[in-house]
Amino acid sequence: MNRHVSALALSDDSSSPLFHYVLRLADINLILGQRLGETIGHAPALEEELGFANIALDLMGQARLLLTYAGEIEGKGRDEDDLAFLRDQGSYLNVVLAEQPNGDFAHTIVRQVLIDAWQRATYEQLASCSDKRLADIAAKALKETEYHLRYSSNWLVRLGDGTTESHERAQRALDTLWMYTGELFESDDLDRQMASAGVAPDLARIRERWDSDVNSVLQAATLARPADVVFSWHGKRGDHSEHLGRILVEMQYMQRTYPGAKW
């Protein structure tokens, strides 16, 4: 059922490939930012709560810039708020890693490292792509992402090379989340189309950079890198896990109850 709906969401949509590509970049920020927002009031220490809140703020800022651009590309009058709050599940194009639950602190940190490293490698390439607006947004986002990666990787090292319990929790988080990383590097028609337009980076290159960064963190953290798994969930084509629906219910509740409401 989910698969059928999502296939329609993309193939029926006459919007440009660039629109969908920008949504993929925007949605990973929007959904991960929303997940980090859930940690407020529940983080283990005030400083880490501030950390997650500030990272979420950066991600939301990047999402806003990207969603605004996507709306302009689409040209149907949808702005950042319409795209953030009024799309249905099958129209969100984030990778499923971003929508995975927060779990314990180790789980949140591992998810963050995996995505931060991917965003850093991606923004680095996008900062010199052929689409000026995207390049400008990426150049800005890259600086912020370096802070995110520094924060999350330093924490993963402390957890991995920490107590017996923190090491076990970090390894468990890694083992659980690893299978979702494959999607970050799977090239599909849209990726190839955008790559030949000089917009999207070559995913093999992203993979190399990501592997290098993640391997050095895992080594410093004394954590074992899990084996790669073939996994066929495609959030970037609107095929989501059971988690996204619940995230959207909370995120979209106000706009759907009071359409057009503004602060």
């Binding site: 950390g51 950066d58 963190v217 410093a220």
Partner: protein, 170 residues
């Protein structure tokens, strides 16, 4: 409110003067000009003013407040036809903080950025020495990468034991 007559660069100087009085809402001691947020100012023959701002962080919640403050301040000064434009590139960097801005930060109790952005970065690099803005000791430690605003980190002085904000090098 009498609309201000336009006559070239005198008017532009006047606009810059007005902008020097628009303070950052979170750090009221410094102006948007000190922060390096104002990229440029122009006024055309019809008196249409354009102010180009570069946001600091993508998600900075002060961005909209600053935009409104700029329009308001110019309106009060007699410029009624003002357009504030966001310029994303080149990306804002803390290197654009004026030296006046840096000393005002220090006076206010916030440690200014310790390095230039062009310093090399590695993934797990160590931290530069930050001096306590209060007692000037170099015996300080980072409490958190993120402080009260996205642009600041939280530090603590091990000498006088006071906490302080550090304006991050970005």
């Amino acid at each position: 409110m009498t609309p201000v007559a336009h006559s070239g660069s005198d008017v532009e100087q006047r606009i810059w003067e007005v902008l020097r009085c628009v303070s950052d809402p979170e750090i009221p001691i410094i102006s948007v000009v000190d922060l390096g947020i104002v990229r440029g100012v122009s006024i055309d023959a019809q008196g249409h003013v354009q102010v180009m701002l570069t946001p600091t962080y993508s998600g900075c919640p002060a961005t909209e407040v600053i935009r409104d403050s700029v329009s308001q301040a110019l309106c009060v000064a007699g410029f009624t036809d003002v357009e504030v434009v966001d310029v994303l590139a080149p990306a804002w960097t803390s290197d654009w903080l004026s030296s006046e801005g840096r000393s005002k930060l220090l006076e206010y109790g916030i440690a200014p950025p310790a390095e230039r952005v062009s310093s090399p970065r590695t993934l797990l690099r160590g931290n530069p020495v930050i001096h306590c803005p209060l007692c000037k000791s170099s015996d300080t430690g980072k409490v958190s990468e993120f402080g009260s605003t996205p642009c600041k980190a939280l530090y603590r002085c091990n000498s006088c034991l006071e906490p302080f904000d550090y304006f991050k090098c970005h």
